[in-house]
C-alpha cells in the first residue's frame, strides 16, 4: 500500500485565539502552581485565569463578524461560535470571581486545602499556614473553559468528542473538591464521572455509526449524505439517536437529567454556578450546530422525538422543583426546566430559533451564576445554609441580599423587565414561527408552574418570620460582590434594553460549515 502524501492542514491561528488563550492560561496556571511561592500563588492564579478569560473575550470581539472554516474543516469559527464563546468567557469570569473569594467572611473559600483535614480545625489552619494550599482549581477551570470554547466551534464529530472530554474531565474533578459536606461532594463527583462516561460512550457509538453511514465525520459531509439519501437510513437514525443521547446528557434534558440535582447539590457552589451556566452554554452550542448543520434537512424525522424530550424536560424540571426543600436542588431542577425551554429553539430549526437560543443561553447563564453566588453568602456555622426553611425571613434581616436573590428568581421565572422574559420571548416566538405552537403552549404553562416555586421562595424570604438562630449573611469579598454585581447589571439591562444584544445574536447567525 502506498502511503498517501501528507499535506499540512492550514490552521488560522488568529481565529482560534478564543480557544488558544484559555488553553495557554491553563498551562501557565500549572506552571504557577509548580513554581510560584505559596504566598502569592493564589493571587497569581486568579490573575492568570481572569487574564486568560478576558483575552478570550477580547479575541471574540475582534473576530466578530468574520467566519473561518479552518484546520481542514474541523473547526468553524463563525457567528454563533463566537457569540457563545464570548458568553462562556463572561460566565467564566463571573465563576472564577466566585471561586477566588477567600475573604474572612467566606470561611476560607469553598475548596479543600488538603484532602485529609477537617474544615475549621487547628489541623487545617496549620496546613494552610505551611503553604500546602491547593490552587489547582484555577488551571482545571481554564482547561474546562478550553473545552467549552472548542465545543460550539467543532465542525467535526471527532473534534466534538475531544472537546467534550476536555471540558468534562476537569469538571468531574472539580465537583469533588468541596471543603464542607465532603462525602456529598465526592459522591457527586463519582456519579457525574460514571454517568458522564456512559454518555461519552453513547456519543462515540453514535459517531461510529454516522461515520459508517456517511463515510466522513465532518458535520457538512453528514448533511450532504443525509440529504442525498442514497445510504442505509438505519445507520443514520441510530447514529443520530445515540449522538443526541450523549449531547442531551451534557445539557441535562429529561430523561437524561438524573445526575443534575445530585451533582449540582454536591459540588462546591462556585463550581455549580460554573457548570450550570458555562457547561450548558457549550453543550447547547454543540447541540445547535449538530442539529442545524448536519440534521437540519431531516427535521421531519427527528422533530417528533425532540418534541417529546422537550415536553418531558420542561414538565420534569418544573414539577420536581416544586417539591424540593434544598435551594441548590431547586435551582438544579430549574436548570432542567430551562434546558427544555432552550430545546424549543433547537426544534424551531430557523434563524430566529438559533439567535433566540443563543440569547436565552446568555441571559439564563448570567442569572444562574448570580443566583448561586448569592447562595454562597447565606451561611450556617457548618457551611452554606441551603435548606429552604433556613431562608425564612431573610428579607427582613438582610434586605439587600434577599432582594438580589429575588431579582434572580424573578428573572429565572421570566417576569417582564428582567432578562429572563426577553430570553423566553425570543425562544417562544421562534418556536411559533417554526411551527411548534403546541410546544410553546406547554412552555408557557410550565413557566407558570415554575413561577410558583420561585415566588414561594420570595414569599418565604420576605413574609415569613425570621428564625431565631437563622443563618448569617456574610459580607462578601470584592470578588463575589463583583460577580453578583455583573449578574444583576446584565439581568436588569437585558430586561430593559435587550435590543442591542438581540441584534448581535441576530447578526451572528447562521452556521458556516
Amino acid at each position: 500500500m502506498a502511503a498517501a502524501d501528507f499535506t499540512a492542514p492550514s490552521i488560522a491561528y488568529g481565529a482560534l485565539m478564543p480557544v488558544l488563550i484559555p488553553a495557554g492560561a491553563a498551562i501557565v496556571g500549572v506552571l504557577v502552581d509548580a513554581f510560584a511561592p505559596s504566598t502569592i500563588r493564589w493571587r497569581a492564579q486568579v490573575v492568570v485565569a481572569l487574564a486568560g478569560l478576558a483575552g478570550a473575550l477580547v479575541a471574540c470581539g475582534i473576530l466578530a463578524g468574520e467566519h473561518h472554516v479552518t484546520a481542514d474543516t474541523a473547526i468553524s469559527v463563525d457567528g454563533p461560535a463566537l457569540f457563545l464563546q464570548g458568553t462562556i468567557a463572561v460566565l467564566g469570569i463571573a465563576s472564577v470571581l466566585l471561586v477566588a473569594d477567600r475573604s474572612p467572611g467566606m470561611d476560607g473559600g469553598a475548596f479543600v486545602a488538603s484532602a485529609a483535614t477537617t474544615p475549621g480545625s487547628a489541623d487545617e489552619r496549620a496546613s494552610i499556614r505551611s503553604g500546602r494550599i491547593q490552587t489547582e482549581v484555577f488551571p482545571l477551570m481554564m482547561f474546562a473553559v478550553t473545552g467549552m470554547m472548542l465545543f460550539p466551534a467543532s465542525n467535526d464529530l471527532l473534534l466534538l468528542f475531544v472537546a467534550l472530554e476536555v471540558l468534562s474531565l476537569p469538571l468531574y474533578l472539580l465537583c469533588g473538591l468541596a471543603r464542607r459536606r465532603r462525602l456529598l461532594s465526592q459522591e457527586a463527583a463519582v456519579k457525574y464521572f460514571l454517568l458522564g462516561a456512559f454518555a461519552s460512550a453513547f456519543f462515540l457509538y453514535g459517531l461510529a455509526l454516522l461515520y459508517g453511514y456517511a463515510g466522513t465525520v465532518s458535520l457538512g459531509g453528514i448533511h450532504d449524505a443525509a440529504v442525498s439519501g442514497q445510504h442505509n437510513d438505519t445507520l443514520l437514525f441510530l447514529g443520530l439517536a445515540l449522538l443526541a443521547v450523549g449531547l442531551l446528557f451534557k445539557v441535562g434534558a429529561a430523561p437524561f437529567h438524573s445526575w443534575i440535582p445530585d451533582v449540582y447539590q454536591g459540588a462546591p457552589t462556585p463550581i455549580t454556578a460554573f457548570m450550570a451556566s458555562a457547561t450548558k452554554v457549550a453543550g447547547f452550542g454543540a447541540l445547535l450546530r449538530v442539529f442545524y448543520v448536519s440534521f437540519g434537512g431531516l427535521g421531519w424525522e427527528w422533530r417528533p422525538v425532540a418534541w417529546g424530550i422537550a415536553i418531558m424536560t420542561m414538565i420534569v424540571g418544573s414539577i420536581f422543583a416544586i417539591t424540593q426543600t434544598d435551594v441548590k436542588r431547586m435551582l438544579a431542577y430549574s436548570s432542567i426546566a430551562h434546558a427544555g425551554f432552550i430545546l424549543i429553539g433547537i426544534i424551531a430549526l430557523n434563524k430566529s430559533g438559533l439567535s433566540g437560543s443563543m440569547f436565552y443561553l446568555l441571559t439564563y447563564g448570567i442569572t444562574t451564576v448570580g443566583a448561586f453566588g448569592v447562595l454562597t453568602l447565606v451561611r450556617d456555622p457548618d457551611g452554606e445554609a441551603t435548606h429552604l426553611s433556613r431562608w425564612a425571613g431573610l428579607g427582613r434581616r438582610s434586605p439587600l441580599v434577599a432582594g438580589v436573590f429575588a431579582l434572580f428568581l424573578l428573572a429565572l421565572a421570566g417576569i417582564p423587565l428582567t432578562s429572563g422574559f426577553t430570553g423566553k420571548f425570543a425562544v417562544f416566538s421562534a418556536g411559533v414561527s417554526g411551527g411548534a405552537t403546541p410546544l410553546v403552549i406547554v412552555g408557557v404553562i410550565t413557566s407558570a408552574m415554575a413561577a410558583f416555586f420561585y415566588v414561594r421562595v420570595i414569599v418565604l424570604m420576605f413574609f415569613a418570620d425570621p428564625l431565631e438562630d437563622g443563618p448569617v449573611v456574610v459580607i462578601p469579598g470584592g470578588a463575589t460582590s463583583s460577580a453578583i454585581a455583573i449578574s444583576v447589571a446584565v439581568t436588569v439591562v437585558l430586561g430593559v434594553f435587550p435590543q442591542p444584544l438581540l441584534n448581535l445574536a441576530n447578526h451572528a447567525v447562521p452556521f458556516y460549515h
Binding site: D5, A8, D33, A34, F35
Partner: protein, 116 residues
C-alpha cells in the same frame, strides 16, 4: 516480506535461546521469596480486601506512567513518519512535548516523584 521473516526468525530464536540457556545455566536455590508474586522482594501486602487499604502511592505511579506512556505512543508514529510530516509535524510535536513537560515540572515540584 523477506526482511520481516528474517527478523522474526532472529527475534523468536533469540527469545527461545535466552529461556533455554537461562534454565540450563542458572543456579536454582529455592526459598520463600521465590514463590511470591513478582519475585521482587516487595511483599504484595497489605491487600485491599480484608479491611486493609491499598497504598495510594501506587496509583500515583501508575498514573504518571500512563502520561509518559501516551507521550511515547504519539512520538513513535511521528518519528516513523517524520520526513513526510515535515515542519508542521515538528512544531506540533514540540508543542505537545512542551505541554507534557509542564505537567512533569508540576509533578516534580509538588512532590509527586518522591516515594516517601
Amino acid at each position: 516480506m523477506i526482511p520481516i521473516l528474517i527478523l522474526s526468525i532472529f527475534s523468536g530464536g533469540f527469545a527461545i535461546f535466552s529461556i533455554v540457556a537461562g534454565s540450563l545455566s542458572g543456579p536454582k536455590r529455592f526459598n520463600r521469596a521465590k514463590l511470591e508474586s513478582y519475585e521482587c522482594g516487595i511483599e504484595p501486602a497489605p491487600q485491599a480486601f480484608r479491611g486493609h487499604r491499598l497504598p495510594v502511592k501506587y496509583y500515583l505511579t501508575a498514573m504518571l506512567f500512563i502520561v509518559f506512556d501516551i507521550e511515547i505512543v504519539f512520538l513513535y508514529p511521528w518519528a516513523v513518519a517524520f520526513n513526510k510530516l515535515g515542519m508542521f509535524g515538528l512544531v506540533e510535536m514540540i508543542l505537545f512535548i512542551a505541554t507534557v513537560f509542564v505537567v512533569y515540572a508540576y509533578v516534580w515540584r509538588r512532590g509527586g516523584l518522591e516515594w516517601d
